[in-house]
């Protein structure tokens, strides 16, 4: 395996710039870092979503590598086609990369993703998860957490906002017996970068689910993205793990969890939640961790 990536040895090259993402955007940071790791010989596809909306506005293109938009449901399908084309051309030393949001992956794109993993086509699929359809104006997705107010699950009239838990996307993907899958957070960017590198060494399909705060949708300051993206891991509401060789591996096991209330209260999307609601969130977290500690190495 190659040398691990850190702040000193990461490439100075930039492949994603001049785009119009919001200040403090977690998604654009994930894209930038992934391309720094993978380099210029990367064929990238993105569906409808923030990261294509901010970067493909003719004649201002923001990728220095090859990039193409896909239909919303079709990130993985276009990756499959790019990989098949590259194979028939007998290219070598290249990456196939797909980057889609939480809705584009866990909702509308899950069929194509499942098909791609099933075929084990070469490609790294990265889901940047900002926990709602942010590009269209903060609507609920399958990865919106409990209690978040969105424009389609508004916390009005005493409602709690979204009352569903996040889909367990990581384990849904792992259940395909994929060669490599991981969770990550832009708050632990070195961990994310190294997972991108590990994913790139897989012959078939690999998958990374990276949590990426959205100041606009989450109701946080643009300077708080990284802090919040760390805190979600440190509170145990998100976790850093990998799946390979048919087993789950926990990367970071907090000795004790940081205060969930602080994480919740600092975000506008949760500001309506009561102490009881936060208690419910803590209970769900503890249940998840019981399962993780039982099943993960």
């Amino acid at each position: 395996m190659s040398e691990s990536i850190n702040a000193r040895n990461i490439s100075d090259d930039e492949f994603f710039y001049g785009h119009k993402a919001c200040a403090g955007c977690g998604g654009s940071l994930a894209v930038r870092m992934a391309l720094k790791v993978l380099g210029e010989r990367t064929f990238l596809t993105l569906p409808a979503g923030c990261m294509s909306a901010v970067s493909f506005n003719y004649p201002q293109m923001s990728y220095a590598n090859n990039a193409i938009i896909s239909a919303f449901a079709s990130t993985a399908a276009v990756m499959t086609g790019l990989a098949a084309g590259a194979k028939s051309l007998k290219l070598d030393d290249y990456h196939i990369l797909g980057i889609a949001g939480d809705g584009g992956t866990a909702d509308i794109g899950i069929q194509a993703l499942s098909g791609m993993i099933d075929r084990n086509d070469k490609g790294i699929y990265i889901c940047y998860d900002n926990e709602a359809y942010m590009n269209t104006g903060i609507q609920k997705s399958g990865l919106t957490p409990f209690g978040a107010t969105t424009t389609t699950t508004p916390a009005v009239g005493g409602g709690k906002g979204n009352i569903k838990q996040k889909k367990n996307l990581f384990e849904i993907v792992a259940a395909h017996n994929i060669a490599y899958a991981a969770t990550a957070s832009v708050g632990y960017i070195e961990d994310f970068a190294n997972k991108v590198q590990r994913a790139s060494l897989v012959q078939g399909t690999s998958f990374i689910h990276v949590l990426a705060p959205c100041p606009t949708g989450w109701g946080i300051d643009t300077s708080e993205t990284i802090e919040v993206a760390r805190e979600v891991v440190d509170t145990g509401l998100w976790y850093l793990a990998e799946y390979y060789d048919g087993e789950y591996h926990l990367n970071k096991r907090p000795k004790e969890f940081q205060d969930v209330t602080h994480y919740i209260k600092r975000q506008g999307r949760f500001k309506h939640l009561t102490d009881e609601d936060i208690e419910h969130i803590v209970e769900s977290r503890d249940k998840t961790w019981e399962r993780i500690l039982r099943n993960y190495k």
Partner: protein, 392 residues
């Protein structure tokens, strides 16, 4: 030397695709398209065809993976039918707007509900506005030949658009006929490997399939429209090149039969035209100047060619295996629009027929001609088989 085989329309199409050497094939099974996909899978497995065969999980992904492959600059093929075509509908617009020269076979099949696996043309005609070139063939031989010609047309620099080749479900796809198979050497001469500047290039990275705002979006659509119109002449050029090498040709966007002096003409898409021509011969033997026009290319629409072929016509009828509910058959709408633009003011009738696989008999065609010849019917749209005239 040509090799004569007794095969179905689907198998003939697969043979044509094999000869065209697509580097990527991506398809999802749906009756009555399946045999094309099965034969191609066999050819790839048996190493008769060097191609990446992608087992996609849906038609939507079939079209989008074909787009990914086409974006890499390679030749890509897919096939579908009916609900499958409708399921991938949004992708058709991506592919045509992105100017990806994918070739797709569509087995014309009724659309649910009521559910039916049998043939009509409501599936492809619903996608006339998708920006694809649409070709309709009559038999297995034409299916093979157009499978090959479609790639040449799609990849032509002045066109660069996807091409959909339509075969009437079962009537063409599953009917066995003797089909002459051109040699690989002759097709290689006719159709060299795809070569394009318009692709993702590992040595020269580009962005493709982008967003265009209101200030330029219309220009992109105008270029698309012009490229589509170019296909009207290119199909003739390509066909004559094909004829020179393979020895068989079809002309262009229209196939005219005894139209030079024809006073009464029936116009249709696909396999029903064989029956229409038999009726033309019968009427001619009675001294009636009947004629037939098969529209081989529905998009771009051959307005000039159609008007030219109808210069002596007194009345026409359009057979439509389609109905745009609340109006009329779509082929009829297109034909009438062409006539109006060319100042041709003659009676025209619309015969809705073959819906959901309903049989069309020689007698039915005879009655269509009768109506056109008599010119007494004040209503314009008739559902053949049900004997119901439009009375709106």
């Amino acid at each position: 030397m040509n090799d004569l085989k007794f095969i179905s329309g689907d198998e003939a199409f697969a043979e044509g695709v094999r000869l065209a050497r697509p580097q990527v094939i991506s398809a999802y099974p749906i009756t009555p398209q399946t045999i094309v996909v099965e034969r191609l899978a066999e050819m790839v497995e048996a190493a008769e065809l060097d191609s990446q065969f992608i087992h996609v999980e849906s038609e939507h992904s079939a079209m989008m993976s074909a787009m990914g492959a086409s974006a890499m600059g390679v030749r890509a093929f897919t096939a579908t039918s009916s609900q499958g075509l409708l399921y991938m509908a949004e992708c058709l617009y991506y592919v045509s707007g992105g100017r990806f020269p994918i070739v797709m076979m569509n087995a014309n099949r009724a659309t649910a509900l009521p559910w039916s696996i049998y043939s009509d043309q409501r599936d492809s005609l619903s996608q006339l506005d998708s920006g694809w070139i649409q070709i309709y063939v009559e038999d297995a031989q034409e299916a093979l030949d157009m499978a090959v010609q479609a790639f040449a047309l799609a990849e032509k620099e002045t066109v660069r658009l996807p091409v959909m080749v339509n075969l009437d479900g079962f009537i063409v796809t599953h009917t066995y006929e003797p089909v002459s198979i051109p040699t690989q050497e002759s097709i290689d001469r006719f159709l060299p490997p795809r070569s394009t500047w318009d692709k993702l290039d590992i040595e020269n990275p580009v962005s493709m399939a982008f967003t265009v705002g209101p200030e330029l979006n219309e220009e992109f659509n105008l270029l698309h429209h012009k490229a589509s119109l170019n296909a009207l002449k290119e199909i003739e050029t390509i066909d004559s090149e094909y004829k020179e090498i393979v020895g068989r040709g079809y002309g262009g966007a229209l196939k005219m039969y005894k139209t030079d002096d024809a006073e009464y003409v029936l116009i249709a898409l696909g396999s029903i035209n064989a029956l229409v021509r038999e009726e033309v011969d019968r009427l001619r033997s009675e001294g009636i100047r009947a004629g037939s026009i098969a529209i081989r290319m529905m998009r771009p629409f051959p307005t000039e060619e159609l008007a030219g072929a109808l210069k002596n016509a007194k009345a026409i009828g359009v057979l439509d295996k389609d109905i745009s509910f609340g109006y009329e058959g779509t082929v009829y709408t297109n034909v009438n629009s062409a006539l109006v633009k060319k100042g041709i003011n003659i009676a025209s009738y619309n015969f809705i027929c073959g819906i959901g696989g309903r049989d069309i008999s020689p007698r039915d065609i005879g009655q269509c001609f009768e109506t056109v010849i008599e010119g007494k019917e004040s209503k314009h749209i008739k559902f053949i088989g049900s004997e119901v005239w439009d009375d709106v």
